[in-house]
């Protein structure tokens, strides 16, 4: 039955792409981070060969905020140069007005995607993107150090802090620079992701409710932020307040940290040939807030969209459908370690053989906390900036956690009235 459906999908895909095949050139802007450009090129070229079209790749800046700035300027100018854009999961609301509704092109394949990833692709009731890969915050730990000190993988943040402190104190004799925990503490999008995890792990909301009402100042958020502020200079280096993903990984991968919060991409790198901690790294769900809390990571990931100003929109949509299909996502999981957004690939034996920890990731992705991009429309970046600066003020002890959250709540309420979301 499943196989039959697969064939049907393949035939439909071939038909739809054949109809569009008039030898057009589709320009796609994909990320050039790590192996992404190579994977994107291989996938796009396979589509081009199958359909008789051509593809042109445009590498874009590595920094997400610079990428968004570039896309916004191109789309605001209604440029026709780029047909397909690779978007971050929180950009749907910001760019929605410039993007094609893909519902009609996606067809039945839509039902296969994990609901959480699909929710991120929708804005104001329109499907403005198709999910391409998923990302979720996870905890990395040093297996060897936990074994040496007979410590279990921490189940709560408090336990993590205790374990980190214990190992750090004992190991400082041999490595004066060892720290317990590194995460993304710079005032930027990554800190918003980290903070949402701390709050959600205590059963808190995600700062802006689904109806758009700000709810930053609740008990879960207060206790989460208070606890995180105690880590700095205790189990986390003071410099963590200016660390993004790569700075945190640099410290962990060089063997100077016991725990690290990061995205799944760090797994392959931490276990690469030249990694000093190769084979000594474990991966787990992030700790829960307390005994009644939950293990939760923030949802991230990539999706593909078609520009409304593209004169070749239907051909471009067929490329997007191809690249986000199960077959292509499987190839990306096997060769690049990217997490699929298609549920059944998480039970695929080949995928699991190549990435054993994917089995653990699926429930995490399904229950991931989403950033409030869906409820604030085009204002997400502004909201996120308010969140990360409030959290940063609390972590740097310029304000108490309670005061920072009260100010955040006031700022968001004010912003909501100006921004009308």
């Amino acid at each position: 039955m499943r196989r039959a459906r697969c064939w049907l999908a393949a035939v439909l895909l071939a038909l739809s792409t054949n109809l569009a095949a008039a030898g057009e050139t589709i320009t796609i802007a994909c990320s050039a981070l790590g192996r992404e450009l190579e994977l994107c090129r291989e996938g796009a070229q396979a589509w081009a060969q199958a359909t008789g079209n051509q593809v042109r790749l445009v590498p874009v800046p590595n920094s997400a905020s610079e990428r968004l700035a570039l896309f916004q300027q191109m789309l605001a100018a209604q440029a026709t140069d780029i047909d397909v854009f690779q978007l971050d999961v929180v950009w749907s609301g910001i760019l929605a007005a410039h993007l094609v509704d893909l519902t009609a092109f996606a067809g039945d394949a839509l039902r296969e995607h994990l609901p959480a990833t699909l929710a991120g692709a929708k804005a104001r009731g329109r499907l403005v993107a198709l999910p391409w890969y998923a990302d979720v915050g996870v905890l990395y730990y040093r297996k060897d150090l936990l074994e040496k000190y007979n410590a279990p993988v921490p189940q709560t943040w408090r336990e993590l802090a205790d374990t980190a402190r214990r190992i750090q104190a004992a190991e400082r004799a041999s490595d004066a620079r060892l720290w317990g925990l590194v995460f993304q503490g710079r005032a930027y999008e990554g800190l918003t992701c980290n903070a949402l995890e701390w709050i959600a792990s205590r059963g808190g909301g995600n700062i802006v409710a689904v109806d758009g009402k700000p709810q930053a100042d609740d008990a879960a958020a207060r206790s989460a932020l208070r606890e995180a502020a105690t880590w700095i200079n205790d189990i986390s280096p003071p410099g963590v307040l200016n660390y993004a993903e790569e700075e945190a990984r640099a410290l962990f991968q060089s063997g100077h940290a016991v725990f690290m919060r990061n995205w799944p991409y760090a797994w392959a790198l931490a276990n690469a040939q030249d990694s000093p901690v190769r084979g000594r790294v474990g991966i787990a769900a992030l700790p829960a807030g307390d005994d009644t809390g939950q293990h939760v990571g923030t949802l991230g990931g990539g999706q593909l969209s078609v520009s409304r100003y593209s004169p070749r929109a239907s051909t471009a949509a067929s490329l997007v459908v191809y690249l986000t299909s199960a077959a292509e996502q499987k190839r990306r999981a096997l060769t690049g370690g990217y997490n699929p957004t298609i549920a059944r690939l998480y039970t695929d034996p080949e995928v699991l053989a190549a990435n054993p920890f994917f089995a653990m990731l699926q429930p995490l992705i399904e229950h991931a906390v989403a950033r409030p991009s869906g409820s604030v429309g085009t204002r997400y970046n502004q909201v996120s900036a308010k969140i990360w600066s409030a959290v940063h003020r609390a972590l740097t002890h310029q304000q108490s956690a309670d005061a920072a959250l009260q100010e955040l709540q006031r700022d968001l309420e004010r912003l909501r009235r100006v921004g009308r979301w």
């Binding site: 905020s65 968004l68 700035a69 916004q72 300027q73 789309l75 605001a76 910001i94 760019l95 007005a97 410039h98 620079r177 503490g185 710079r186 005032a187 930027y188 280096p237 003071p238 410099g239 963590v240 307040l241 200016n242 660390y243 700075e247 640099a250 410290l251 060089s254 100077h256 409304r308 085009t378 204002r379 970046n381 502004q382 900036a385 990360w388 600066s389 940063h392 003020r393 740097t396 310029q398 004010r414 009235r417 100006v418």
Partner: protein, 314 residues
């Protein structure tokens, strides 16, 4: 000038001025296109609700982006505490960094003006920080200042100047200091170069006469060198102040998004690009332009006053 105009009559004057206008025309046109048009456009945009997010054309909204009152709350750039913080940050950065650059620049120029073997090589070497693009040097510094494996902390720890590594770019108390240090490192050569040029214009006979009169080196510096290089130093300071008031790239690379170091330019960019609010961002840019114009006017007036005072006392 007046006597000449009288001598040759108005015909000559008209011919000269129309010739002058003709010769100036290409330059004026280029200036209008390169500076006037973008400025006028950004002022116009600041009066609209232009946005990068919407597909609709921008509407005129008057001064709402600057200041507006609705439902008991003040809105607009002028009512945003973040903006005022950015203004203070920028002024602080400008005053401290330009003063340090002036002092160090004069010092370095005096050394470079002295006769010593290998002078040409040292002069060229001093210019290197100025020649490196800001983005490159800022990235380089951000790795050197890394709290865990940066070389700056390593050296300071080795010599015992600090006990624990400092988080140069993350510590809210240190980040502005860090930005100033890197800026001083980068732009002192520029000031030194201008001052050195002025120093080389001073005839040696002036100093010989002073020596004959029995002036000690300190007096020579205070009463001769300083007044004589003051015009050049002032040009350098005005240039540097203009640059420092619109500082962006250094901060963007070294301490992105940090409220402690956000400059007026960073604020304008964040609003216009990150937050898609082109109109609001343009209002911030226009205010930045106003603050710069005002600051430069103050510096120019201060400079002229001190220059004339200097002339009187001589």
């Amino acid at each position: 000038m007046v006597s000449r105009a009288r001598k040759y009559g108005f015909a000559w004057f008209d011919r000269v001025s129309s010739n002058a206008w003709m010769l100036l025309a290409p330059l004026l046109l280029a200036l209008t296109l390169a500076a006037g048009w973008p400025l006028a456009r950004s002022i116009w945009l600041s009066l609209t609700d232009a946005s990068l997010a919407g597909a609709e054309p921008a509407r005129f909204v008057g001064l709402r982006n600057y200041l507006a009152y609705a439902d008991g709350i003040w809105f607009g750039v002028l009512a945003d505490p973040d903006w005022w913080r950015a203004v203070l940050n920028t002024l602080l950065f400008t005053i401290v960094s330009v003063s340090l650059e002036g002092l160090l620049g004069v010092g370095i120029a005096l050394v470079l003006n002295a006769q010593f073997p290998g002078r040409a090589l040292v002069r060229a070497a001093v210019l290197v920080p100025w020649a490196v693009p800001t983005i490159v040097s800022a990235k380089m510094w951000s790795w050197m200042l890394n709290d865990q494996f940066g070389i700056v902390n390593e050296v300071l720890l080795r010599v015992g100047a600090i006990q624990t590594p400092l988080a140069w770019t993350a510590d809210p108390l240190l980040s502005m200091v860090t930005v100033v240090i890197v800026d001083v490192w980068k732009t002192t050569p520029f000031v030194a170069l201008l001052v050195l040029a002025a120093l080389q214009m001073i005839p040696r006979s002036v100093f010989e006469a002073a020596r004959v009169d029995g002036a000690n080196p300190l007096q020579q510096f205070w009463y001769l060198t300083l007044p004589l290089i003051r015009p050049a130093l002032w040009v350098a300071v005005v240039f540097r102040a203009l640059d420092a008031l619109r500082v962006f790239d250094l901060i963007y690379v070294l301490t992105p998004n940090s409220a402690e170091t956000m400059s007026m330019s960073s604020y304008a960019r964040q609003q216009a690009i990150d937050f898609q609010d082109l109109g609001y961002g343009s209002a911030a840019s226009t205010l930045l332009f106003a603050v710069m114009a005002l600051s430069i006017a103050v510096i120019m007036v201060a400079g002229r006053v001190r220059l004339t005072q200097g002339a009187v006392s001589q």
